[in-house]
Each structure stands twice: as C-alpha cells, then as structure tokens.
C-alpha cells in the first residue's frame, strides 16, 4: 500500500520488500507477493513459508491481537552485519513487525528444534488425546505434536467423527518425564459449552476473544504457577457467570479446553443440512474451528437448483447468504423500470387504475444518470441492462444477511447449480477468516472495483487504465456497527485512515460536532457514495465531520498519495470532487447556522427539527376542500403524495407528506440505492425501485407510501410466484418535469385557493410563528 512504508529485509536469505505494518509472520505468509525477485516469488508460491502458530489466530479484522505467549511461531533473527549462521536471538514472529535490514531465519534445524521443544513442553501439560482430538482430530496443539513427530494418530474406521475414540493419539517415543497425574478440573455448568481446564494451554485466545471480539469481558486468568487457569467473572462457574454463551471463546480455543456440548442450530433452512465434519472438509470452511462448525450445524445447507429456478427474489427479507459451490447464476432486477401513474378507464364512473409507465414511454428528467445499480453481490448491474452472471466460488446476499436488508436483486440458476445457503453467524465467521477475506477481496479488486467506482458520480467515466492503477493500491476495510471510520479534526493525509473513501457495503452516518458539544447528522451514505473529499482537498487537510458505520460497513480507501497521483493524470476527478466538496461545505454551513438559530429541544420529539420542507395547513383558512390533495394527484399521474391528516400545532396541521428531513432515515437500507436526494432537499425515488418497502418502514412519519402497480403477467410468471408488486412514492416537491417546472411552489401550495397551504422550513417556521422568536 502506498500509505505505508516498504522496508527491505531478508527472509531465509531471500530479499523481501514488505510494508512496515506487517508482522514477520504475515510477511512470511505473503512472501510470495513481497519477494523482490520474480524467481523467488515463483519458488515461494510453490513452497510457501509455513510458520507454526498456536496462541496467534489469524483474524481478518485483527481484533484478536497477537500476544506471543506460546512462542511456537519463533524465528531466528540474525545479526545484520554478520552472516546468517550467526544467530542474534529468537523472536515471536506473530507480534514482531518487520524492520529494515532484518535477517530472519524461519527454516533451520535449530529453529525447528526450538519449536519442537516448546510444543513438547506444552503437550506435557495436556491430555493426549484431548476430547476434541479424539473426536475430530482437530486439536491444534496435538496437530503440532504430529507435525514435529512427537505424536502419532491412528483412525478407527468403525466409528463416526464426533464419537469418542474415533482417533487414537499416542506419543511416538516414551517421554522422559512422567505423565501429568492431576486434573485441573472441568466446568459443565453451561448447557452448551464445556470447559476442560486440563486441556487448556493458557494461550489466552479465549480471553482476547471474550474481551476484544465479543466485548463481554467475562473470561480472565487467575492463579499462579501450575494453578493458573482461565476463570469466568473472577472464579465463578461458567453457568453462573455473566457469560452470554456467544461461543467466541469456543471458536477461538485451539485445543479441547472449550468445546461445544449442544446440539447445533435448529434452523429451518430448506435443503440438506451439512454436517460439521463435511463442512470442515469443504474448502470454504477448512480454516474454521470444528467447535464452531458443530455449533453451526443446521446453519449451512446444500441446495440444488435446476436451470431457471429462482434462488432468491428481490425485495424478500432474507437472513442468509449464498455461496456458489458449482454452476452459474444470473442476477437481474425483476421489477420493471418505471414510475406509477393513474389512468382513467372507461365506464360511467371513470374508474381509475394504477399503471407502470416505462422510462421509454415517458422518461423523467430527474431520473438517475448513474451507469450502474449497486446490488448485494460481487458485481454491480449496468443501468441500461441490469443483468449479470457470476459463477463458482462467489458469495452473494452478504448485505441482506449481515445488515438484514431486503434482497437487492433476483438470482436465478443459469445452469444446474449447487449453492451453500448460510445463516448470519456462519457468514460472520467466514468474513473473519483471513484467507477467505483475501480471496473475496482479490475477486472484488479484479472484477467489481471498476463497476463499483463507476457507480459513483465522481468516477462515472474513469478509464480502465486508472482502475488498473488503483486496483492494487486501494485498501479494502471493514467496520462494525457504530465504529468510527474517520473522526472530525483528524488529519486527512493520515497514513492509517487518511484519503478518500468509497462505500462498498452498508451505510455510513456523517455527523458534525460543534464547539458547544452538540452534533447533528449531515447525511447518510450508502454503496457508491464517496466521503473524505473535503479534508483531502482543503489546504489544512483536516476532516470536517465524523463518519461512522451505521451497520456492517465495507469501504474502499484511496490513500492521499494514490489520490494525488491519480488526479495528476485525471484532473477532471479533482474538479468533480471539488464541486462536491464545495456543495457539502455550503450545506454544512447552513446546518450550523440553523443549529445556532433555534432551540432544538422543542422540536426534537415531533421530528420538526428535521424538516426542511413541511407542508402545513392553516386550519383557520382551510375549508377542507382537498384541493391540495387533488392537485398533488394531478401533478403526479393521479397518485397523491400527501394526506390531509397529521399532527396539529396551534392552528397548523402538519400534513402527512415528505418533510425532506435533514436526517433522512428513509435512505438507510435501500438495497438498490434508488432513493436519494436531489438538490440537497427533495427526496427522489428512481425508477429502478424494487418495491421492498424498506424506505416506507424507515420513515418515522409515515410519509412514504407503497403503491400497488399493475403489470401484465403471464400465467408462467404468476406460477413462478411473480406478483404485481409495489413502487414507493414520495413527495418530490414537484421538482420533476411532470410537475410544475416554472413555478416555485409545489402543486399543493399552488392550487390552494384559500392560501392555507404552505411549504416551510420546520425550524424557522415554528421558531418564528409559534414561539415568537422573530417575525414570520
């Protein structure tokens, strides 16, 4: 990465140039990428450096910090000015960062002997075999014992995996010391997790998982010397402690000290349930702890789809993700592009019916100009032809599963296809596996980055050469709900989190904090939106707002040096970003001015503080003639966007019509990003709305309606479960070309014959009119 410094050092005599943020362990694992010579890279790919680990656990989010307590990953550091053979010291490769001119020896008889001795000493305190190894041949310590020739395992073919005695493990040579004769005790007080203290090697993985990953802080260490053991809530039985049985300790434990005692997830997923041992053999799950897989049994099913069968349908609320084991799938938007209108039918009473008007038939001026539609798959759909195909080894439906969004597109088997359908906990664990993440990220860089960049207005016409330039340079980062991505007043050229961000998955909340400690929400950003441009372009290079993950967020970060290099080649990008930054700054200033003008608390409860454009009716003037409603319907193809009903304040009725909130919650969660702001005020729903209803659910004021639409469906389509569907409708302040393009007022205000209807800014109006803080 360009924002980190590359350091040159030697690994087993091979020159390496790797980022200084890597540990020796990571640099060795990725040596085939960082070796200076092509020949070395090729050789390392065929014969990678394999440093054994025990207390260290790879985690894609680096939440399980390395502590180097077991030292099994030790490597020898040579003296920089002396030949390799002259050792300086042994160091733990999992936590020591690479440094310039280091000489590291990872493979030598001395290093192996040291590791072997460490493993042997740990095994001396460990039951051989432990329960986990006896059932699944999966204890990491005993596997290391086998690797170093200390132990030998035979399999009993008459028994199934999971049964006691399936695997028999013995010392190869009689050990020089006596076997441990005492037990450190067991704890079976938790119904789903069992503890065997004798099998614990005090690697602290469970302690770190409980505190740093799960955030529960229940597990700790107590005692000294041989009495040292892990404890729950300062030595309570696990079942009586504050443990929430999340299972992170069990997933992290390398041995049989913490094992699963329950009976798996009783999920009602359709398809063939995949047994833990079958999962373990699958390439997708091979890195995952067997204890977790046992617990997740039922959380993964194998599903076979014939060509043409629907795997998932857009708009459905699914809580699973899909991994294509074999075959190919088509991804497409089922809903026709278009907006709704009401047409008069014949007949005496002029019956009306809502119909869908295609973009070709009557295009809308305000319709999106974007080139791609963001969806929940490793690819985006072209706006003009929303269809794509993905194949074996691809994961889709991740955002629907993790962030509980509606499905963004329909997926159909393009040929006979086998998929693994997974529940959220399985996907979550998968996402934490470094090899899995790396593979997914590699595919993303190769296939999706280009279209993803082009979903953004800023990068909409970025040439292929620029994408090729960015591909290896960008960082792909993940954030948990609530986690801060960038903080106000932080440096925008910071090597760790400086630069420009592009949202890849999830939603980002942008807030600004003022000197008095108050903060307001400036915006919500979703897939395809960029942020961080203001700090990047300003001379002070300081962030002007906080950006935090609202749900599980993934972003693409373009560091400052890469960005600078890019804009030198493509100055148009800088110009566009400059325009965007200026617009956002102006909006922020407005927000700040508003914040100072009014006392917020009075309006917060009713949400009026959020309203930028309230439709209010003066009930002293209003004759309840409904001209406003009729005008709205007339301006919007027969479908009204307002109801003359709502909350009353003094003599004013706040109608049920979009308020163009400052904090537009409706925009959070749209699976295809069809709801957006236009001109920083009105909310627009684009024609590719899939009718999932998320925006209507999210609007706290009930101002978005789901309008049923009529489509001409064939019998075959109806048999396949296709419905007429819905489209979301919302007040657009009549700023579309169907409405009043030459009049400033929206139709409801323009058509009110009694001067009772007004569009006002919530804060200003109520502050001035109701509380007398100024002249109306």
């Amino acid at each position: 990465m360009s924002d980190t410094k590359l350091v040159n050092f030697e690994l087993d005599g091979i020159p390496i140039a790797a980022p200084d943020t890597l540990t020796i362990y990571d640099a060795a694992r990725l040596a085939h990428e960082y070796a200076v010579n092509e020949e070395d890279r090729r050789r390392l790919k065929e014969d990678p450096i394999d440093i054994p680990i025990l207390c260290h656990k790879e985690d894609s989010r680096d939440e399980l910090k390395s502590v180097g307590v077991c030292r099994v990953c030790c490597v020898m550091e040579g003296s920089p000015r002396l030949p390799y053979q002259v050792p300086k010291r042994y160091i733990a490769s999992c936590c020591r960062k690479v440094e310039p001119d280091m000489k590291i020896l990872t493979r030598s008889p001395d290093v192996d002997e040291s590791r072997r001795t460490l493993v042997e000493l740990l095994l001396a305190e460990h039951p051989v075999p432990c329960k986990r190894h006896e059932q699944f041949h999966d204890c990491e310590l005993e596997l290391l014992g086998e690797r170093f020739g200390l132990l030998e395992t035979t399999e009993d073919p008459t028994k199934k995996a999971g049964q006691d005695g399936k695997y028999k493990t013995e010392w190869v040579k009689p050990q020089v010391y006596t076997d441990r004769v005492f037990s450190k005790g067991t704890d079976f007080t938790n119904p789903s997790i069992h503890i065997d203290h004798s099998a614990c090697v005090l690697c602290d993985r469970c302690v770190r998982a409980c505190s740093d990953v799960a955030g529960e802080m229940v597990i700790g260490r107590m005692g000294k010397g041989k009495n040292t053991a892990i404890t729950f809530d300062l030595d309570k039985p696990m079942g009586q402690s504050n443990c929430v049985s999340c299972g992170w300790c069990m997933i992290s434990c390398p041995t049989g000290a913490i094992t699963y005692a329950g009976s798996g997830i009783q999920a009602a997923l359709p398809g063939a349930k995949l047994a833990a041992e079958d999962m373990k053999r699958h390439r997708l799950f091979k890195e995952i702890s067997i204890e977790f897989l046992r617990r997740a049994e039922g959380g993964v099913v194998v599903r076979h789809f014939r060509k043409g069968e629907i795997i998932c349908r857009q708009g459905d609320f699914g809580s699973t993700a899909f991994y294509i084991d074999s075959g190919k799938v088509d991804i497409f938007l089922e809903t026709e592009f278009g907006h709704v209108r009401t047409r008069q039918k014949g007949g005496f009473f002029n019956r009306v019916a809502s119909l869908l008007i295609s973009r070709e038939e009557k295009p809308r001026k305000e319709e999106n100009t974007r080139a791609y539609i963001p969806i929940d798959a490793p690819i985006d759909l072209a706006y003009e032809k929303p269809f794509a195909q993905i194949g074996e080894g691809e994961l889709f439906g991740e955002a629907a599963c993790i962030n509980l969004q509606p499905r963004s597109a329909t997926v159909r088997a393009a040929e006979d296809t086998i998929v693994l359908e997974m529940l959220r906990n399985v996907v979550d664990i998968l996402r934490r596996q470094k090899p899995f993440r790396m593979e997914m990220d590699r595919k993303y860089r190769e296939r999706a980055l280009a279209t993803h960049l082009r979903t953004s207005d800023i990068f909409r016409d970025i040439p292929d050469e620029a994408v090729d330039f960015l591909r290896p340079q960008v960082s792909l980062l993940s954030f948990r709900p609530g986690e801060t991505i960038v903080r106000q007043d932080q440096r925008a050229d910071d090597p760790d989190n400086g630069g420009l961000y592009l949202v890849r998955m999830g939603h980002v909340k942008v807030t600004e904090t003022y000197a008095d400690g108050n903060s307001i929400t400036l915006s919500y950003l979703s897939r395809g939106n960029v942020f961080g441009e203001i700090g990047l372009l300003s001379s002070e290079a300081v962030r002007t707002a906080n950006c935090a993950a609202l749900d599980h967020v993934e972003v693409v970060r373009i560091s400052k040096p890469v960005f600078d290099e890019l804009v030198v080649q493509y100055p148009a990008l800088k110009e566009r970003l400059g325009t965007l930054a200026a617009k956002r700054l102006a909006d922020n200033r407005d927000h700040a001015a508003m914040q100072k003008r009014v006392s917020l608390q009075q309006y917060v409860d009713a949400g009026l503080y959020q309203a930028q454009s309230l439709l209010i009716l003066d009930l002293e003037k209003c004759t309840r003639c409904d001209e406003c409603v009729k005008a709205c319907a007339q301006a919007h193809n027969g479908i009204t966007r307002l109801l003359r009903e709502g909350t009353k304040y003094d003599k004013y009725l706040v109608t049920t019509s979009c308020r163009s909130c400052r904090d537009p919650l409706c925009m959070v969660g749209c699976p295809v990003g069809s709801i957006r702001r236009k001109n920083d005020l009105e909310i627009i729903i684009d024609d590719h709305c899939v009718g999932c209803g998320r925006c209507a659910e999210q609007c706290p004021y009930g101002n978005i309606s789901m309008h049923p639409i009529k489509r001409d469906l064939s019998k075959e389509e109806l048999d396949k479960g296709a419905g007429n569907g819905f489209k979301a409708t919302v007040c657009d302040l009549c700023n579309s070309d169907q409405c009043l393009d030459e009049i400033d007022d929206p139709a409801c205000v323009y058509a009110c014959p009694h001067d009772a209807a007004h569009r006002v800014d919530g804060q200003t109006f109520f502050d001035q009119t109701l509380f007398g803080n100024g002249k109306k």
């Binding site: 004759t623 001209e627 030459e742 323009y750 058509a751 009110c752 014959p753 009694h754």
Partner: protein, 306 residues
C-alpha cells in the same frame, strides 16, 4: 376564503371601483331624459364590465379543474388563491355594476332580465353566505374539534371506535374470580369470610345494559337518537351518574368510554360543520352556471336587437 389583512389590496380596489361605478352612475342618470337604460352607451359599458367580472368569477371553477396549469398561452396562469380573491371581490363588485347597468330595476315580472336579476341576487347572496361560513366554520372546527379527521375516513374511524368501546365493555364486564368476592368484616376472634361482591356484579350488569341500550345505538346510528349522550353537557351528566354507581375498579373503563363517546360526538359535529361548509356550494355553483348561460342569452339578444 378567510378575509384577512392579506386581502387589503383587493378590498381597497373593490371599494374604489364601487365608488367609481356609483360616482359615474349619478351624472349618467342626471344626463338622461328617460332614465337609465341598459341599452344606452353607459348602460352597455356597465353591462360589459359587470359581465366581465361575472365571467372572471365563474372561471374560478374552470381554473380549479386545471390545478397545475402554469400558463395560459404566454400569460402565467396565476395561483388558485389569486383566482379565488378575484372571484370573491370581483363577484361582489359585479352585482352593483350590473344594478347600474339595469338602472336598479329587475325588469318585467316573468321576463328574462327579471329571471337573471333574481338568479343573480340568489347567487350573490349565497356567495356572501358562503364567504361568511368559510370565515366562521374553520375557526369553530379548530376550536371545538381537536380530534378532527378526514371526512372520507369517518366510516373507518367509527368502526374503530365501535371496536374499542366493545373491547372495553367486554373486558370490564368479564367475570374475574378474584374480584367476584369481597372481604367481610366480622367480630374479633371470628374467621374472616367472603361473600359474593354484589355491588361489582350489579355494576357490571349496569355497564352492559348501558352499552346495549345507549352506547351501541350512539355509535352505530345517529348519535342524536341518544339525547343523554348527544351533547357534552348531557353526556357529562350521564357519565357522572354512571360513575357514582360504579366501583373503583371500573372507573378507568368509564373514563375511556367517555373519551371515545366524546370522539364520536366530535365526528358528528364535524359532519354537520363539514356540510355547512360545503352545502351552500350546491346552490351557489349550479345557479352561477345558469346565470352565465342566461346572461349570455341576454347579451346575445341585446346585441342582436341593438
């Protein structure tokens, strides 16, 4: 339309034009030998101007059909409120102008001009009545009907109210074992015994009877058919007497029912006010169109035989 200070410009213009019309009428009458006539030059001028005002007033209906009309040819169409102001003030002015045109005569009984003048008078008066109503009733509704809802939704709201009242009564009159007995004070040393809570059982029966006899009818049919609940005063008295005979455990239910009855009464009042607010239009609008047609015939005849 509320006549407020925003209409000052229109009011001043109307008064000025009215004064001008009357001011011009006096020398006009004085200059004639046989008295004013609609066929004279001045009379015709009054007729044209008055007809133009009437036409503008009538065009409001057409303007309201095209609510989102922005331009009429190259001319901006104007807001509906502007048209309403024109309707009211020019409509008001048209009557004295037409009177000037007619020489303050209604014509021979049974003639077209006689019919037009009477029709015009009815339209004029109904318009003024409507204006007054529109200035009074919205304010009254705002004051008296805090639970006002959309007129078209009344049926739905009433169904909800009926369901809520029934649920409250069902729940309150449901026999509960723990409440069906009461503790009885006995001399010291004797055992405490329980006996059926006669007062509670009686109260439940009374509430059920009140629901069956009055509440259902009040909610289902015309509320005025139940006088003891039809007005706020009588309802307060009715609920006061019911409350006095109810045990404490049933009082919250009575409070809820009273609140729902008040809501029902507000719907009834809203319907009455809504009708007052709009029913005058049934007279004003068709007669206005009839007036325009007759006036057009009159104009045609007048021009033909000029």
């Amino acid at each position: 339309m509320l006549v407020d200070r925003n209409a000052r410009g229109w009011i001043v213009a109307t008064i000025v034009m009215f004064v001008a019309s009357v001011g011009l009428y006096i020398p006009y009458v004085a200059s004639t030998v046989h008295g004013p006539s609609g066929g004279s030059a001045a009379g015709l001028a009054y007729g044209v101007v008055g007809s133009l005002f009437m036409l503008i007033a009538v065009l409001l209906g057409l303007r309201k059909r095209f609510r989102t009309l922005q331009k009429i040819g190259p001319i901006p169409a104007g807001r509906a409120h502007t048209w309403m102001q024109a309707h009211v003030w020019l409509g008001l002015l048209s009557y004295p102008v037409i009177l000037c045109h007619a020489g303050f005569r209604f014509g021979m009984t049974g003639s077209l001009t006689w019919a037009i003048m009477w029709l015009f008078t009815v339209v004029f008066v109904s318009g003024i009545v409507g204006l007054v109503i529109q200035n009074i009733i919205p304010r009254t509704m705002l004051e008296r009907l805090p639970l006002e809802t959309i007129y078209e939704q009344h049926g739905r709201v009433l169904a909800l109210l009926r369901g809520q009242v029934k649920a409250i009564v069902d729940d309150a009159t449901l026999e509960k074992d723990e409440e069906a007995f009461e503790l009885e004070a006995v001399p010291a040393g004797a055992a405490v015994v329980t006996s059926p809570n006669a007062r509670l059982l009686q109260a439940r029966e009374q509430l059920r009877a009140f629901y069956e006899d009055d509440l259902k009818r009040f909610l289902d049919d015309d509320p005025r058919s139940v006088p003891r609940l039809a007005t706020a005063r009588t309802a307060a008295g009715t609920f006061g007497s019911i409350r006095a005979s109810m045990p404490a455990s049933l009082l919250p239910a009575i409070d809820d029912i009273e609140h729902l009855v008040a809501e029902r009464r507000q719907i009834m009042q809203q319907r009455v006010m809504y009708h007052w607010l709009h029913l005058w239009l049934l007279c004003h609008v068709p007669l206005s169109y009839a007036l325009v047609v007759l006036a057009a015939i009159h104009a045609f005849q007048a021009v033909r035989y000029l």
